[in-house]
């Protein structure tokens, strides 16, 4: 089937996919009063337990971070064991990757001088998640500083001294794994749905303000809300990698970050340059003010540490211009406060059988996920849908030659379509036929294409 591929053809750098919070807003929480799915309860239970237990330690066995409540003694001995396992494999000229038992998967990652370990019931893409954690730590210290610190201070050095205060960043990174249906692995961006003209206005405003400031070293301007991107502008041809954007999103989505202050945060973006630091000007211009509460965050990135004042001016200009355009501002605050995700009903007739989809454009690395729709409304139901998608995404990663997958189950059907240009994951009702599924999918792609400016960032403005 010939399709026009929605979502752009150029990589733009991106964030992880829409998170829990975007769902919370756009649908009605229905109490699962009665039975529902038998599994749902069990799964719900799992959700309450810790789905990912993470250990970070130095390669000399000293614990650095754990996210579960074990007492100190237990942690120390577990860390020592982890270190011993990793070393033993190393002594065999090999490198330890996983251990599994009946229902638990333990993933290891050794990135000198650190060792990462995660225990989970969900085996998908644990290795990538650990890589993300490593990059998270690099973002705080920079890779070169991380590597040097043990050389300078010895094997016994307690890295926690340097990482003080960042536990919550690592925690929130871990929590986002559960919320995201296709993990950050896919390094994808998710755009806040906006009127094309609004996004255009936002981008040009940001770009022109940054351009006019002539700050040599200011490279990126990003408007983030709800872990999604409203707009991104860049200096000339510089690009920011989705993984780095993830790290930024993780930082600014941390709700405890002072929203009433402007923040100036040194941050290393490992995919851009793992030895040096950017300085991120972070502000929430309309957050919890007297008039508004728009959870949008403006991030301006520069490599020069003395650009704060300059960027403060830029921000002021941007804010003034945006507020000056009443129509834009109303739309924008609406779009951010109650994100209007793609409604499946937009596809048209016969689309009732489609319950949920996730579309990923490989070239532009952007994701579009449908808004919740009956019967996938409650947390537990959405979790099941997410699990299916994760499992298929994982299968697709292990088998890059996979093109089509259609699974008919008793509760729903899963339809996955992978091409070189895009991947599409769909959950249909259990009675759908292949023919209908294809028809709906075809219409969906056409619809996405025609609305692509709304759901994707097609052009990133440069300054």
């Amino acid at each position: 089937m010939e399709v026009e591929v929605p979502g752009g053809s150029e990589a733009v750098g991106g964030t992880d996919t829409g998170s829990e919070s975007s769902f919370k807003v756009s649908q009605v929480e229905i109490e699962d009063v009665e039975e529902n799915l038998k599994n749902a309860e069990a799964i719900f239970e799992h959700l309450e337990q810790l789905p990912f237990q993470v250990f970070i330690l130095s390669e000399f066995g000293k614990p650095i971070f754990v996210n579960n409540d074990r007492n100190e003694g237990e942690v120390v001995s577990l860390a020592a064991l982890i270190c011993a396992f990793v070393s033993r494999c190393q002594s065999w000229g090999d490198s330890l990757m996983t251990m599994t038992s009946q229902d638990n998967h333990i993933q290891f990652l050794h990135k000198s001088p650190l060792i990462f370990c995660v225990v989970s019931k969900y085996p998908e893409q644990l290795d990538q998640q650990l890589e993300v954690l490593f990059e998270q730590i690099c973002s705080i210290l920079s890779k070169s500083q991380l590597e040097n610190v043990y050389k300078k201070k010895g094997d016994n050095y307690d890295l926690r001294k340097l990482l003080r205060g960042t536990d919550r960043l690592i925690d929130s990174s871990i929590s986002s794994w559960r919320a995201s249906p296709i993990n950050l692995v896919d390094s994808s961006i998710s755009a806040i749905p906006m009127n094309p003209s609004d996004r255009e206005f936002l981008s040009t405003t940001m770009a022109s303000s940054l351009g006019a400031a002539k700050l040599d070293g200011a490279l990126f301007g990003i408007m983030i809300a709800r872990r999604q991107i409203a707009a991104i502008v860049r200096f000339k041809k510089y690009v920011i990698h989705p993984r780095d954007l993830n790290i930024l999103i993780n930082l600014v989505s941390d709700t405890t970050l002072q929203t009433d202050s402007q923040n100036w945060v040194p941050i290393c973006l490992p995919r851009f340059n793992d030895t040096g630091f950017f300085y991120a000007y972070i502000s929430y211009p309309w957050c919890k003010t007297d008039q508004e509460d728009i959870p949008a965050c403006l991030v301006l990135l520069s490599v020069k540490r003395d650009h704060f004042d300059g960027l403060k001016e830029v921000r002021q200009q941007i804010v003034t211009k945006l507020e000056g355009n009443a129509k834009f501002f109303t739309n924008f605050s609406q779009a951010v406060k109650t994100p209007n995700l793609y409604q499946i009903s937009q596809i048209g007739s016969n689309s009732e059988s489609l319950w949920s989809f996730l579309y990923l454009n490989h070239s532009s690395k952007q994701v579009c996920m449908s808004s919740s729709k009956i019967p996938l409304i409650t947390r537990a139901e959405r979790w099941i849908a997410r699990c299916e998608m994760r499992r298929s995404s994982s299968l697709s990663t292990r088998h890059p030659h996979l093109r089509t997958l259609f699974v008919r189950g008793t509760r729903h059907c899963l339809f996955v379509w992978v091409t070189d240009l895009f991947s599409l994951y769909c959950i249909f009702g259990p009675f759908v036929t292949a023919t209908i599924a294809f028809q709906v999918v075809e219409k969906l792609l056409k619809s996405l294409k025609s609305h692509e400016q709304r759901y994707f960032i097609i052009n990133t403005t440069s300054f």
Partner: protein, 209 residues
Amino acid sequence: MAARNAGGAARPGGPNRTCQFKLVLLGESAVGKSSLVLRFVKGQFHEYQESTIGAAFLTQTVCLDDATIKFEIWDTAGQERYHSLAPMYYRGAQAAIVVYDITNQESFQKAKNWVKELQRQASPNIVMALAGNKADVANKRTVEYEEANAYAEDNALLFMETSAKTSMNVNDIFMAIAKKLPIGPAQGEPTGTVDMNQPQQQQKGSCCK
């Protein structure tokens, strides 16, 4: 600096001038810098305030006699890894509050180091205050008032024990700093030192534009 209101000196701009000062908070991690700022700027206090990441910038305006003083406050993160960034904040600052926790002797030692550093590296005219925070848990005190006070006197620092939780002395310390800040000389008057590395900073000693 009480000469400010001394009669005779003509002040440009007339009454109700607005002055801006850059003020930086320094001190070990978890002594309560952010809490002090939050109390001063928003009148709020959070029991479990999270660690600052990087530095936060806020402003607060106060009225003093016939002048309006706007503080541009840099609340810095106290962690070790940010130490090398500190000069970025205190250079060009007209005021600094070095904070320690009265229940933590080590934080007091660290505060002394900060004072030394400021004395060496910051502007010689910088107004410095020492704040012994968490005065509300005086029963767990390990740093005596007298000890800190003596140290402050020896080093020409303003000193108050504060509590961001109860708001004790929070406004006071900022006001005390405000009183000590030079509001007066006309623009353009040459000042003692100009930091050539910070072309964008405001001229030392003169605040009003």
